[in-house]
């Protein structure tokens, strides 16, 4: 993720599994303004593939999927305009 991306909302989904990782991310994204950035934290490995794929299919822009510590990943997504 480029250093200068501003994150508007964070969602900690540690302990959550698919498909609820995406469902909950979607519910939060719906409340955000177009162009805003959401950072989702997951520790369920399949979510690192599933969540970005579902986000993209809804037209959002996945900016990055990064390891963020021990067994934890961050998914950075920009809400579609």
């Amino acid at each position: 993720m480029p250093e200068d991306v501003q994150v508007h909302r964070e969602l900690d989904l540690k302990g959550e599994v698919c498909p609820y990782t995406f469902v909950k991310s979607k519910l939060i994204l719906e409340t955000m303004a177009p162009g805003e950035v959401l950072r989702v934290i997951v520790d369920y490995p399949p979510a690192t593939g599933n969540v970005p794929r579902s986000m993209e299919s809804e037209g959002h822009k996945v900016l990055a999927v990064n390891p963020a510590g021990d067994g934890v990943w961050e998914i950075i997504v920009r809400k579609k305009d």
Binding site: P19, Y20, V23, K24, K26, L27, I28, E30, S54
Partner: protein
């Protein structure tokens, strides 16, 4: 943090995942009020799927009690419900499926005197009746009240349905101006009906209601959908609003609700002492 409880998120996750629904659509379903007229063959699957989908308020109108011969197709009711009011066993079944749904029951027969009051608070009306008297009454009332009506009928192995959006498309009378004379079209009681055809058509009605609530897709407005189960074929017949329609036309001649006293409405209940009881589907 979320507008839904943890339980709702899990219960409705397959809805919310859909692009056309999401949390916004799920909230629309939760806020929606749908009236299902008739807790019979069509009303059973329609109400079941509406409750499952999370429609917040479901009204059920029926004045009948459960009969053993209903259970071949009226899947809201159980064998042990025989003899109890259909609205009661319907409410039990729907609440058991989804306790989050508010079920309002009307143990009455729709008539010119009560139909406007009952439909007033609802967003969508689902017609699950199988007698022409109530069908025309409901059509006229929904046109007058400007309420969308999802109409369906079944007989033998055949089903028919259309969605009436008053003045946006045809109403039932635009296509069939007057009820058929008594005896021309047999009832399910006389002619039989395969239970699963009620399942197909009632489920399609639930889908139409859900589309109307969400504002997605194309409803069956101005399109008569016909299903022939024996042939396994759907057909579609286009129909336009008739500017000379007696109820939704430019110069309506029916401006007050009329009730047809059709002989074919009588049979079943007469022996049981209720001349008013409608033929159950």
């Amino acid at each position: 943090m979320f507008r839904f409880t943890e339980e709702e998120i899990r219960r409705y996750s397959r809805n919310i995942i859909l692009q056309e629904v999401g949390g916004i659509g799920q909230q629309k379903l939760k806020d929606a009020k749908v009236l299902v007229v008739g807790a019979g063959g069509l009303g059973s699957p329609a109400a079941f799927y509406l409750a499952a989908a999370g429609v917040g308020t479901i009204g059920i109108v029926d004045d009948d009690v459960v009969d053993l011969s209903n259970l071949q197709r009226q899947i809201l009711h159980r064998t042990e419900d025989v003899g109890t009011p259909k609205v009661d066993s319907a409410a039990r079944a729907l609440s058991a499926l989804n306790p989050g749904v508010q079920v309002k029951t009307y143990r009455t027969r729709l008539g010119a005197g009560n139909v406007m009051d009952i439909i007033r608070e609802y967003d969508v009306i689902v017609d699950g009746v199988d007698n022409f008297s109530t069908r025309y009454l409901l059509n006229d009332a929904c046109v007058m009240a400007g309420k969308p009506l999802v109409d369906a009928g079944i007989l033998r192995w055949d089903g028919m349905m259309m969605t009436i959006k008053p003045r946006e498309g045809p109403c039932y009378r635009c296509i069939f101006p007057e009820p058929p004379p008594p005896g021309v079209i047999p009832s399910c009681q006389e002619a039989g009906v395969i239970g699963a055809i009620a399942g197909v058509m009632g489920t399609l009605q639930a889908l139409e209601a859900i589309k109307l609530i969400l504002g997605v897709g194309e409803t069956l407005t101005g399109r008569l959908l016909l299903f022939d189960a024996l042939e396994g074929r759907f057909r579609q017949v286009n129909a336009a609003r008739d500017p000379n329609c007696p109820v939704c036309g430019d110069h309506p001649t029916i401006t007050e609700l009329v009730e047809y006293d059709l002989a074919c409405d009588l049979p079943f209940g007469v022996a049981a002492g209720s001349a008013e009881r409608k033929i159950e589907q």
